[in-house]
Symmetry: C2
Subunit: 399 residues, 2 copies
């Protein structure tokens, strides 16, 4: 039998580590012959655009480089399969290409859209009597997948966010004046990544003094009074805000009659809200942008190691006959940090979103409770030994 | 005799390493008794706001932590001394506090404004017959100080810029579509830091496909035709642009009749220029922001080591009787990388700016020549061994 693996959705620092896990375990499995990489997600299967991963990863050095390479080495896609009772043509193409290449198991590393693909494809295979296993491997910096304790990719993003925030805290404190620094953090509709900035509190830092998540109500009036109150207590106020928060049109027009800020992200918008208020101190906003998802130079060792393990577990599950599953992480204990990998129906994960728990948001809705710290802390633990050349990290290209 | 040291201007990753160098050498110098840290630059002398650095840095562990702490541990200021023939009152206050504390040498770590202070103060001391040495220690991520080959702080900023650009290159290439990614890089009026992104070329990368510096003429028409040409050849075009480039009002109004982009930085402006053109592909802009100057977690070992050495050399120079000088780096050879430290009149550096050499800009003004690579390459070499706690770098606070 042969297998194929693909990557989908937004990049992370750990998605290639999961790819490596799949390849490692497949290489250890005698019945697996060819290991195909499908280029640009499921589109690579549709177009029969496959590469030979045994050849591309024939040395330990190459494997080590793949593990430290951010973003999807096989490329990605945003393709969503149609329901096959409405349009089955692409399912037929995929099946034909699986059969033509003797692919008996397909591994899809991605987020909730990809789990939708896993659920639909595995159902189609079963209903058509085809013995082709379809297994999902989770990844997303948003950490918003259901069932799994957390998602590979999240820990490295959280480590980057907390690291650069701790540096921005230093940068913001140098002048002898009052200031507000707003940091806009990714995570789409889920507040996990923004909330993880509470890790700075582990070292006794009051920063971030304010943390705003999409899971809590937000108003600019409350925001301004929060900021004013913190400025009474601290010279340099650090605000972490999730990109998933949006100001209503009414809120924007209150502070910006020319519509200048409507095109901006929430960080810039809140900067303008403060500048147009009577707070009157130095204010700036920083958008961490895609660095959060591709910052492999500061990846979390825990995250990268887990990403490899979960890729390996996916192959084991397929060999044992599982299909239509997403591999999940179960947390056994916070300290010492201990986890187990199990599988759950991908259909239960597909298209769902796990919100940040409301019990971990402070009563005044403007920070994260210390109760969340034991959850986040182990996920950013450990540094990877990054190979460099000419002072820069080395990446492995597969396409 | 006692000494005092202060930090000024914008933060860098290396300014505390220079502070450590001053303290290290002072501790090795028997005739130096008290080592004062002046809080918030020269303002700490004016206000007699001094701390005891022997007490704060009494262990090797604390010294190691100071070396890896970004931004100015003693705080900073933007204070510029008036000419003393116009207003000598502050000079009298400074002198009184030097005498009161038996300070016989003052070390000012900063950029060209700080060198102006060094030049003025040393001249005042000489003209008033006071034997108080004033020595400047350079730092700026802009690398725009005259006479010195490069400035401490620049190498670490360049290492961060090149590292994250190499990661953004991966992030930008995942989808099977045409895209333009514009990265806005600091450096004020000088293109050094933006130009250093050419370090990606050392690994055969065509990215950045376009590099725009303030030292070369810029027009949006030329920019659009450059981008269009690169999109013919490459799917994912990476553009590095210096914050020091500005579009004229006429250029902005051509593409943005509502003035939405006038408030933004050049990166966002150029993103809008492309979006409003007929190029019609996915376009985004990324502002690296203050991360460039406080990214101590990825500091260049060469830079940090040199920052310590130049701090040490400053104390040696003062002990030998020098004053009114800035310590400078002379490059002896690129490979093997070899430098020497010497001193030059701070007055020659004060208020001047060293532009990026025009002979290192390509003929078509939209990239950096490979001739610049031997200059930049050694400056980002080596990784620091960063001490962490709970997965985050540990910083030392002095105030």
């Amino acid at each position: 039998m042969n297998i194929a693996v693909a990557q989908s959705g937004g990049p992370t620092c750990a998605i290639n580590a999961s790819l490596l896990g799949v390849v490692n375990e497949a290489m250890r499995t005698p019945e697996i012959k060819e290991i195909f990489g499908s280029l640009n997600g499921i589109e690579g299967i549709v177009k029969n655009n496959l590469i030979d991963l045994r050849a591309h990863l024939d040395t330990d050095d190459k494997k080590a480089l793949l593990k430290q390479t951010p973003a999807t080495a096989l490329g990605s896609c945003r393709y969503k399969l149609p329901d096959y009772d409405k349009d089955s043509s692409v399912y037929k193409t995929i099946t034909d290409n699986f059969i033509k290449n003797d692919i008996k198991a397909f591994f899809y590393i991605g987020g909730n859209d990809s789990m939708d693909t896993v659920a639909k494809l595995s159902k189609y295979m079963a209903e058509n009597g085809l013995d082709i296993k379809i297994i999902g491997v989770p990844k997303t910096i948003d950490n918003d997948l259901l069932i799994t304790d957390h998602t590979p990719g999240f820990g490295s993003a959280a480590k980057f966010v907390a690291t650069v925030l701790s540096e921005i805290v230093r940068d913001s404190a140098v002048y002898d004046l009052k200031s507000v620094t707003i940091i806009e953090i990714m995570g789409r509709h889920a507040g996990w990544l923004t909330a993880s900035s509470c890790l700075l509190h582990t070292d006794g830092s009051p920063a971030p003094h304010l943390i705003y998540l999409p899971e809590a109500e937000f108003s600019t009036d409350k925001f301004l009074s929060d900021v004013a109150a913190k400025l009474e207590e601290y010279d340099s106020v650090i605000v972490a805000v999730s990109e998933g928060i949006s100001l209503g049109k009414a809120e924007i027009s209150k502070t910006d009659s020319f519509g200048h800020i409507a095109l901006s992200g929430i960080g810039k918008q809140l900067e303008e809200v403060i500048k147009n208020s009577d707070i009157g101190c130095k204010t700036r906003s920083i958008e961490l942008n895609v660095l959060q998802r591709c910052c492999a130079h500061i990846a979390s060792k825990t995250d990268i190691d887990e990403a490899v393990l979960i890729g390996e577990a996916a192959v084991k599950a397929a060999v044992l006959g599982e299909t239509g599953k997403m591999m999940c992480i179960k947390r056994v204990s916070d300290a010492p940090y201990k986890t187990e990998i199990f599988s759950a129906d991908a259909a239960l994960v597909a298209n769902g979103e796990k919100a940040f728990p409301s019990e971990w948001i402070t009563a005044n809705k403007n920070n994260v409770s210390d109760l969340a710290i034991p959850y986040f802390m182990p996920l950013i633990e450990g540094e990877c030994d990054i190979k460099t050349k000419n002072g820069l990290p080395v990446h492995l290209l597969l396409k």
